[in-house]
Symmetry: C2
Subunit: 81 residues, 2 copies
């Protein structure tokens, strides 16, 4: 089963990478008001079962993929049911 | 108008960050077959108009947000029509 996890800096948390991109986009002439940068993690899971997959993904996020103090995460299951 | 851009390493392109995450997830006991890491860029655009926004986002990706040689990008418009 395939899954996509989006990890983003929480609102209010400093995002230097986003600020750098915002500055660069403006310098290039783009009318951008805000930019925030996070990570997208595409995973291929060995075990089937949506329920089990979602539970495992939550644990992966809490333990490794995200820093729950400063980042939020969003899990999307892509593969078969 | 808000937009989300997903930037991913193209298939076949080496992804050391993904390999590191894959190794760490396995060490933690998760049954994962593959992991690839990309970026998620959340943008707030000053100008309205979906057509114009999409065209601008394409240019942002080509010029700054992605390296078209080794990365693919996916644009999602979130805001009002």
């Amino acid at each position: 089963m395939r899954a996509t996890v989006l990890v983003r800096p929480k609102p209010g948390i400093l995002d230097p990478q986003g600020e750098a991109v915002l500055g660069s986009l403006r310098q290039l002439g783009f009318a951008v008001e805000d930019a925030r940068i996070g990570r997208v993690v595409d995973l291929e899971l060995a075990n089937g079962g949506r329920e089990q997959a979602r539970a495992e993904l939550e644990r992966m996020c809490e333990q490794l993929l995200a820093n729950p103090l400063i980042e939020s995460y969003e899990i999307e299951l892509v593969g078969e049911a």
